[in-house]
Amino acid sequence: MELLILPFVFGILSFIIPSSWSRTFGLIGAASSLMVALFHLSGFEPQTVRTIFDPNRTFPLGLSFKMGFDALGLVMILLTNGIVLLVLLSNWNREIAKNKLFTALVFLMQFGLLGVFTAQDGILFYIFWEFTLLPIFLILYWFGAKDNNPTLFKFFIYTLVGSLAMLAAFITLGSFSSSYSYEDLRQVSLPAGYACWIMSGFLLAFAIKIPLFPFHTWQPATYSSAPMAGTMLLSALMLKMALFGMIKWMLPLTAEGLECMRWPVIILGSIGIVYGALIAIKQNDIKKIFAYASISHLGLIAAGIMLYTTSAMQGAMIQIINHSLISVGLFLAADILENRTGTRKINELGGIAKLAPHYGFWFAVIVFAGLSVPFTAGFIGEFILIKEMFSFHMIIGIVAATTLVLGAVYMLRAYQVSMFGAPKLTEFQDLKWNETFVFVALTILILVIGLSSNCIIDFLEPSLSNYQVTLK
């Protein structure tokens, strides 16, 4: 339980403390949450589910409010706490970090995310899912670009509509079950007509959040108007909620509906892979390039999850972790550009690698990690996913494999145009200590995961195969 209470208490305290302490306070809070999560990791048996809260009674209408996590949940918790620490660290010498509201909102966001990853009750999952919308909305509203109201409304209404569809799905599902606890919902065997509809309710929520191809229109505008921390939290953590929801909630609970929804999602994912990449190639705004790149990457992951084989889900998990790390790195690099030069248009930049060699080097490392070169985590993840796609259907496999080529085009183009060529600037301040630290930490993590992905795959194997039990 301390996993959740800690960020919440830090979030509330951040409102009270003086502003000058807020960034130190933020780091201490994030670091201690990470320590608690690591403490949970030691001695964790991957086969078990660790319950952290159980009121031992059923409330009206079958609410049980149980919380707990298995290996998958623990990995997501570690990811959340680690990313929050990195987000706070990369904002260390920005104006925003000195604002105590910002620190408080990040902690509340962390609280909501941890709730999503530990909920063992359908309605509790929904409650936390919706709760995360509030802090991120306020971060985008207060610290984002001026006059971004229409963008934010679009973002809020899109996600809210998706969530309501998920609520309808949960209520319908709950009407077949004695309570909303995860175990009871797993027992439900749905009538044929219902499963497909319930699954599409879930899918609408997840497709908007991921975002899958036709539901993505909120994303690029929101990313480019958001402050760096908001973009990082959105792309590194909030989108992962949806993928996590697909693996843990949607597929095991409504596996009967898989047959009718599998092809649509895989096709939409494949369209997203190509579409996102092609648009990213033509973009000039570096944040938009990475936003569309994110659509492309996540389309692959979502399509992979819908294959519903153990190894595809393992690949998806590796890729989820990898994408979180890379997107923190990429958006940090993009924000450094904007922060130092005042523009995000890559054709107005050039020759920065000469002016700031350290920045040039670490940016290149992250870009190569984003290209999934061997030894990085992305290589393993994309390799497994594409292999599974091929064995599912050859055409789909070929479409999915284009991500490697197209990814190289937009990533290298963004890097080359902005960093090489004739210098258009006279000076460019090189990395500060905190930025270097974030880049180094990300690189180490990406390499470690890339070289020892078997550990993670083995660690996740029991819980991932547990999610597959219902499908015969």
Binding site: F59, L138, I157
Partner: protein, 452 residues
């Protein structure tokens, strides 16, 4: 029953105390009377009423919960609106005691067991409101509202009486239990009973302000003083909806095949017409009036199922709705929103962070964002109804997205930075702090689920 008498006597005393022209004394008497009656209703298990023999009013646990909610809301409104009533020192106690008399009617309407008491309660509830709507004597809108409410209200009452008469003709009884037995046994004259049901339903839809009998709502809400508007939106509505629930989901439940169709249409129309009209409003009170139409649509979901938990769900929903409305109206009074413009809320979050916080909480609760009470209320109501009325539930969720857009606009407005005005805090009296604090507790909904 005792609570009813305490409230009535408190109202009488405060009428006489009013001659002293000491508003705080009146306030003290009324507040203590309400607190006393609240405690009397609370003390159910081991306390025998002196009037327990009177069987036209019956309070079991559900009725007690609802009447406590009515008493609590009235107390909050008296405290929150005291500053407004105090301005007219001649009539302070008249206004406050009228509110109490209306509350008596609400409690009769919650506890009735026969149609005499029902009609009596409805009239005791309504007549003080006709007066209260018109207390701004110089104001044209207020006079219009009072007249309009009186005429349409009387008309609805006439229709109701017609329905009751037909019901008596069909079943030969005023007693709810007897009527239910007659309906169950099938020994009634059919067309007369069915017409009676429709007439009574029309009158009810008028009283709760649901489409297609909603036209009086926005005009009357706009014309009435803020606090009277809040009383109509909370106490009157909760009593009427509960009586509606009791008659239709209880007494007439064996005819539900006949009346659910009509009710479904009223619900769908209310859900969408309310929010869609509210989107275009610039007047704060008209906006609240239209959004209250939609919220009524949600509340009427409780009637669609006969399961015993539907009253509890309705209770949670009405607490959430009532607390949010009272908080918003109190805030509107704090900022002296005499022009009644939504734009007056601009930048409140910067001027008074506390007000901004309560306002955002109430708007989020109205839009049904967890973990606030509004979410739990809607969730309980909808999940009760989902087995039989799946399409209605989906429509309700769609309309709730429209509502979320409506409330989100107000949230963003209250957070907006307004560099033109210098930052000047609005003074908040201690009573208003209490009201806003209590409403905030009511809006944090987790505890409601646990005591349910």
């Amino acid at each position: 029953m005792d609570a009813l008498i305490v409230i009535f006597i408190t109202g009488l005393i405060s009428l006489f105390v009013g001659m002293l022209k000491k508003p705080y004394l009146t306030l003290g008497i009324i507040a203590s009377g309400l607190v006393l009656s609240f405690c009397l209703q609370m003390n159910y298990g081991n306390y025998t009423s002196i009037f327990s023999k009177y069987d036209n009013l019956y309070f079991n646990i559900t009725q007690l919960y609802f009447s406590e909610m009515a008493i609590g809301f009235t107390l909050l409104l008296v405290l929150g609106g005291f500053q407004y009533f105090k301005q007219d020192i001649e009539h302070t106690s008249d206004y406050l005691s009228l509110l109490l008399f209306s509350l008596c009617g609400a409690i009769c309407l919650i506890g009735f067991t026969d149609l005499f008491m029902f009609f009596l309660g409805l009239e005791i509830l309504s007549i003080p409101i006709y007066v209260m709507v018109g207390i701004k004597k110089q104001d044209v809108l207020s006079a219009e509202a009072s007249l309009k409410y009186f005429f349409t209200g009387s008309f609805a009452t006439a229709i109701l009486l017609f329905g009751i008469a037909l019901l008596y003709g069909a079943t030969a009884s005023f007693n709810l239990a007897t009527i239910q037995e007659v309906i169950q046994s099938g020994s009634y004259s059919e067309p007369m009973l069915l017409i009676a049901l429709l007439f009574i339903m029309a009158a009810f839809l008028f009283k709760v302000g649901a489409v297609p009998f909603h036209f009086w709502g926005p005009d009357v809400y706009q014309g009435a003083p803020d606090i009277v508007m809040a009383f109509m939106a909370t106490v009157v509505k909760l009593a009427a909806v509960f009586a509606f629930l009791k008659l239709y989901a209880g007494t007439f439940q064996f005819l539900s095949e006949f009346w659910t169709g009509a009710l479904n249409i009223a619900i769908i129309l209310s859900l969408f017409l309310g929010y869609l009209s509210a989107l275009r409003q610039t007047s704060f009170k008209r906006m609240l009036a239209y959004s209250s139409i939609s919220n009524t649509g949600f509340a009427l979901f409780a009637l669609l199922t006969t399961s015993p938990s539907s009253a509890g769900s309705l209770w949670v929903f009405l607490i959430a709705y009532g607390c949010a409305t009272i908080a918003l109206v109190t805030i509107s009074m704090i900022i002296h929103n005499v022009d009644d413009k939504i734009a007056a809320f601009k930048g409140i979050g910067y001027k008074n962070p506390f007000i901004g916080f309560v306002m955002i909480m109430s708007l989020l609760s109205l839009s049904g964002i967890p973990p606030l009470s509004g979410f739990f209320g809607k969730f309980l109501l909808l999940s009760n109804a989902i087995n039989d009325h799946l399409y209605l539930v989906i429509l309700a969720l769609v309309s709730s997205a429209i509502g979320a857009f409506l409330y989100l606009r107000m949230i963003v407005l209250s957070l907006a930075k307004d560099p033109g005005n210098e930052v000047e805090k609005y003074p908040i009296s201690i009573l208003q702090y209490i009201v806003l604090g209590v409403c905030t507790v009511g809006l944090l909904g987790g505890w409601l689920i646990i005591i349910l």
